[in-house]
Symmetry: C2
Subunit: 464 residues, 2 copies
Amino acid sequence: MTTVTTAWVAELVDALGTGGVLVDPDVTASYARDEAMLAGAGTPAAVVLPRSTTDVVAVMKVAHRHGVPVVPRGAGSGLAGGSNALDGAITLVTTRMDAVLEVSPADRLAVVQPGVVNKQLRDAVAAHGLFYPPDPSSYDWCTIGGNLSTNSGGLCCVKYGVTTDYVLGLEVVLADGRVLRTGRRTVKGVAGYDLARLFVGSEGTLGVITEATLALRPAPQRPVTLVATFGTTAQTGQVAERVVTTGLVPSLLEVIDNTCICAVDDLLHADLDRSASALLVAQSDAGGAAALAEIEALAALCREAGADLVHTTDDPAEGDLLLAARRMAIPALAQLGATLLDDVAVPRSAIARFLDGCDAIAARRELTIGVLGHVGDGNMHPTICFDPADPGQRERAFAAFDDILELGLSLGGTITGEHGVGSLKVDWLEREIGPVSLDVHRSIKDALDPAGLLNPGKVFRRRG
Amino acid sequence: MTTVTTAWVAELVDALGTGGVLVDPDVTASYARDEAMLAGAGTPAAVVLPRSTTDVVAVMKVAHRHGVPVVPRGAGSGLAGGSNALDGAITLVTTRMDAVLEVSPADRLAVVQPGVVNKQLRDAVAAHGLFYPPDPSSYDWCTIGGNLSTNSGGLCCVKYGVTTDYVLGLEVVLADGRVLRTGRRTVKGVAGYDLARLFVGSEGTLGVITEATLALRPAPQRPVTLVATFGTTAQTGQVAERVVTTGLVPSLLEVIDNTCICAVDDLLHADLDRSASALLVAQSDAGGAAALAEIEALAALCREAGADLVHTTDDPAEGDLLLAARRMAIPALAQLGATLLDDVAVPRSAIARFLDGCDAIAARRELTIGVLGHVGDGNMHPTICFDPADPGQRERAFAAFDDILELGLSLGGTITGEHGVGSLKVDWLEREIGPVSLDVHRSIKDALDPAGLLNPGKVFRRRG
């Protein structure tokens, strides 16, 4: 066993140099798991740090020759265990492939390597007056490769969509080391299957993304911000639904519930209304009078729904302050104990029922659950707070995590809006998509990775 | 042979009734080809007209049991021969599955059967103040099923994207008759592979789409319209590029060249400037002052580029008149002879070079080529006019069709922006995507349709 391991590790070192291959368990341990507390993780046999597509090809050829599984990984900011290590496998870390290769204002696109940090890309294109919308909360450290693999969203989605909406073309190293280039640099194109969007969101199970051509947008205009508080979840749900039916498209529409409000107030001493059922934050980046009109229309909807407080500002600094209550919700909840962050998307007409359902789960499981979320697109993140040292609480927290998924499905929703399936929700995926879709997933996986080397066991199990 | 045919035809009649199965060659001939003059077509052994998913399942089970190929077809408005009949095969026509099953203003989506005509859907959702953007030129007779299969675009794309951008979920009958439901009703969702977008644009080679859940948008506001003429292609290209770099996002940005201008003027006697190199039409639906400002900014770009004429109007009726020159370009060119409509998308920075290249091809091949196109997204439709009774012209026309694809690829473009590969551009697809991508296409096809029953030979050839 040792000699076999040595043989393929030696081949990796030949290809990438000693600095590109880590085998010291004390060092490789730091690449073993992502941010998903609930997901299990093994110990990688080796961690490789390629600097180029050529390096990735070399790694995949060694892996293919020796039948060694490979777990692709970006910065490790994942929330579903998608890049968690597998015993005896190679973990392939893309963080050294971090070049922004091109920004083209004339074609409004950028070409990047997968290890580019989301914020690095945002800053690079902002210098040209351009905008890359997808903005996961971890935008200052997560990588574009990880964003592509999980099809990340963020606060922008209500107006600007998710990662896949910005993918024009990809370079992907396949399981056997061949290099696939797919997609295009043009705005439109229908030559063949949409392979690029098949790889996006496939969580490293179909190939290793080594380059991406991404569409950009013009820089958004200065935001106008609204904050409102409500006494009931029904009022909050009514506003969410009325935003949709009246055709408003704010650039941000976020909610935090009473648990989050109190936690944030405890942390920031922000003088929030601790009796409010929910706090809503919205922005419009439509620009000038259009933005003011959009926010005023939203304020009217809030008042009609019976909001206790409605406040608007066109001062960006004050807008940032108002948004802080939403941005600080997770750190504030973390003060209450360990946290399990769930990720469910429901139809926007079901928001109030979802909020009420989470309250019922918290009561039944005798736990604190703070709900925050992208209410504008129905993607909600109930966050379970518990004491991990208390076995009973721990068990109830895990049960509540599943209760929330069950609730989401019962409302016509999905078990993951933006975090992915990873290793955390494999059983739930089967339940959501059903046997025919599972079989189609397995057929496509077998077609592209017949030996099952790429991130095996993540997203779904192979036939077996 | 006859008895075998009779056996499976009888099974189809058992399932669909005699009214659902056509075998009279005089009748089936009308389903043999689409609008692509250049593409070959066979004679269908039977044409089936299912009324439900159950009917489609029955057809695919018969086809699967007897190894009979199936060609899915909508209204036959295709421009690449994608639904052209194959000798001895079943042509499955979805036009009787024409129900709009649901319009949900609360979740801003619609659920439709594939035979719904694009305009029927547009009208159904407009009654709720909603908007389904994809608008191919054939919108008053093409079906949503066909739009999904080719990932149709239209005039809306510069601002609103293409069909795939509106697909939330699909029901698909697979080659063996199993029913796959994939996707969702929620705005966001990353549970498993993006199978829906794999089926979109696959031109009937992977399954038969029997239901679609489509995202909608709020109704657009009253458009403001601009028309401008230019003396040189360089000026036109400059405006196209400056629109991108200044961050303008008009809701429509179309161009016709001098050949089209003269043909339209001959047809409509519209007093157009017959000396102009190009005529540009743009609209903004940003609403009120924002739309006026957007069109004024665009007018300034046109003047800076040296436009001979710039005219704007916020009167929708006058706007429609101005747009008529663009809308009538193809009928006007058809007055000059037979027409071959090509479909190339190029990066927006290459528009001027593409227009000049088309002029050079017309001169070299001694043919008339009128270029019209969605200049805002780089999707251009050079239209070759020729006398089909003249063998020399005919041959030169076919050669010019290929020259245009060659030109598009040489500029970093694609051989099809929105019409699809069909049977017309199979060889060109191989050339554009290369051997690795072709192999991946074949692997996915084999995984989902191992017997090769669905629209065989379209888009790409199978191995062997």
